[in-house]
């Protein structure tokens, strides 16, 4: 009897260990990461990482995932910092200042993002290799013709060399996103690494007419995302709308347009004047009635 009970117990234990539910409890989800490099003007670059995981056949942003970022090597020496993804699965980190000298001197460098010892996800690691490049932006205006010039060059053997045949965009920075600032959506650098476009847009700037014009390369396999921007008075100065402070149909009641105050009030006064006159007539009728003793 005891042997039989022991056998049943062992089988039940084996089943529970092999059952899908037991497996599911132990199994961690896989995480997918996308690491990108962003550099503007001469600022230190920013690393952005986007994490997502597959839930019910769809990739959804992975929120609250801690990701370690490394410069050049996945060691304590190369550890830049740890970031946590937001609700959109994104996190970013500017290259710490202590790596500035290394970053300045290197022509090629590597960034690594890792997820390790996470409760919900399996370990994962991605890396990107970047070749150092820069965009030189020049804005010129001659005879009312405004031109944008961009020159793309890469650091090779301690010297800057022109980068031909690379796609580049001219942009105007707006509040929510970039507006195309060139005649074409996309340009390609020539043999000397240059591209240019006439700037024809008439768009509002700040109160002084300042707008931000730039040239950028997006998601380039070698150079990542590079942007060069300059502030220039090529916009239309914005005159502040203070119509709420003036008399208007949409202003507060103390700023009712004069015509709307005068004419309706004249009509109202005229009509109500007549109504009060009618009430006065009732008074006169009653006086006549009280004065008449004959009836």
């Amino acid at each position: 009897m005891n042997r039989f009970a022991y056998l049943i117990g062992t089988i039940a234990l084996l089943f529970s260990m092999l059952s899908p539910s037991a497996q599911a409890q132990d199994k961690k989800a896989t995480i997918s990461m996308d690491l990108t490099y962003h550099q503007q003007n001469d600022d230190l670059p920013v690393l952005r990482v986007y994490a997502s995981s597959k839930v019910e056949r769809r990739f959804l942003p992975a929120e609250g995932v801690e990701i370690a970022l490394f410069f050049e090597e996945e060691t304590a020496q190369g550890f830049m910092g740890r970031v946590e993804t937001n609700v959109r699965g994104m996190a970013s980190l500017r290259l710490p200042a202590k790596y500035k000298n290394s970053w300045d001197s290197l022509t090629n460098f590597k960034f690594i993002a890792t997820v390790t010892d996470n409760e919900g996800f399996e370990d994962e690691s991605v890396e990107i290799d970047i070749a150092k490049a820069r965009i030189a932006l020049t804005l010129e205006e001659e005879d009312s013709v405004r031109m944008i010039y961009a020159k793309l060059s890469a650091l090779e053997d301690s010297s800057w060399t022109d980068v031909p045949e690379t796609e580049i965009k001219f942009i105007v920075r707006r509040l929510l996103s970039d507006l195309s600032g060139g005649e074409e959506e996309l340009y390609t650098t020539d043999e000397s690494g240059e591209a240019s476009s006439q700037f024809d847009l008439t768009i509002p700037g700040d109160v002084n007419g300042n707008i931000i014009i730039g040239a950028k390369i997006d998601d380039n396999e070698l150079y990542g995302n590079l942007v060069a921007t300059k502030i220039v008075k090529w916009g239309v100065p914005v005159v502040k709308d203070n119509s709420f402070a003036k008399r208007s149909l949409w202003a507060t009641r103390d700023k009712t347009p004069l015509w709307l105050l005068i004419f309706p009030n004249l009509i109202i006064a005229g009509v109500w004047g007549m109504i009060f006159y009618l009430i006065y007539l009732i008074y006169r009728i009653s006086k006549l009635g009280k004065a008449d003793k004959s009836i």
Binding site: S248, L249, W250, A251, T252, R253, T256, P257, L260, L261, P264, N265, I268, V271, W272, M274, I275, Y277, L278, I279, L281, I282, R284, I285, S286, K287, L288, G289, K290, D292, S294, I295
Partner: protein, 439 residues
Amino acid sequence: MSHQQTISSEKITSDLLPQKFGKPGMIWTAFLVVLCLIGLFAYYRQLRYGLSVTGMRDYASWGIYISNFVFFVAISLVGSLITAIFRLTNVGWRTPLTRIAEIIAVSAILFASIIIIVDMGRPDRFWHLFLYSRLQSPIMWDVIVITTYLVLSVLFLYFPLLSDLPILIQNSKPGSRIQRLYKFVGSFWKGTAGQVALSGKAIQIISVMIIPIALAIHTVTSWLFATTYRPGWDSTNFGAYFVSGAFLVGAGGVLVAMYVFRRAYKLEAYITEKHFDNMGKIVVMLAFLYLYFNINEYLVPAFKMKKAEEHHLVSLLTGDFSVLFWSAIFFGMILPVIVLLIPKGRKPLPAFVMGILVVIGAWFKRFLIVTPTMLSPFLPMYDTPESYKTYWPTWEEWSITIASLAGALLIVTIFVRLFPIIPIHETIEENEQIKPEQV
């Protein structure tokens, strides 16, 4: 009128004096009071729990309260039609109808004011409308013009009533409460030449004044809609469209009231078949006019069928509201025209039935003006619950709306109990002046 010539002044007085309620009158009054009490309970719930007890949500923020408001404003226009326009144009047969029209106007405009407060989420802040009024807002124009029309309508009811008060005082029980009421209202009226002249002058002034005010009240109400940019409301025709509809429902309402008072108080000698015949013809003319504006309002946009307006027009013409829409058009306008064009259709009973159809059709027409537009915004809201995209009034809304209609009828009922619904003095005067060849 032919009968009137043979009627003595005493007979006219005894025929037209207000009468105590009989059993049907008591049941009718009690029925109206019960409806009002149910409405008051529903309004208590609305005050207690807020507008969430209604079916109104982010899409349909104007429901049957506003439809009902527009209906009341519309039917109130009848006072100016029958009393003022007929008086100024010397329409001889108007006398038995003037007071009916005026009391309908007063009760309707009073409940228009009340129902608009019911639609407010915070009625305790009603006085803010006056304290913080902005003349830029069409709502403020409506507040001003409704108040003016209410006061003017009360005066228009009051001045012609003065000459009946001595008769009422004389024929009421001395010292009774009702006699004290009559004395309070106008014991000073002695019918002297000076008083008659002043009263005549006042009536003449009101007759002239009330016509533009009455047109303004409904035009301004239409502007509440037309000044907003929404499908179905974005129209320059709206003022004339509303005014023509108001005249129709008012005339229909008078037809109904004429029949009811004629039957209830045995006024066949005063409200004759000729009155029904004439009012029937007026209803036909007004129904044609309103049909014309309806064609303007719906056929022209439907011919163009702009994408942004398509949802609204389709919902009316072939969609969710189509049965109601076509019923309101057919039963509220086309059928009354057909029936009332036939002389036999202008007899009291068929005219009464057509009047009821006009009034009911007009109520639902106002619902169709308000709600389908609210459910068809140019810019649909994002991520709203599916239930917000439809509107059906809750029992609280129905109860309050029905109570408001019952309240208006209750005012008319109580007025008829206290005052003659046909002017006694004026009828006697006309009876004495009438010449045989005019018969």
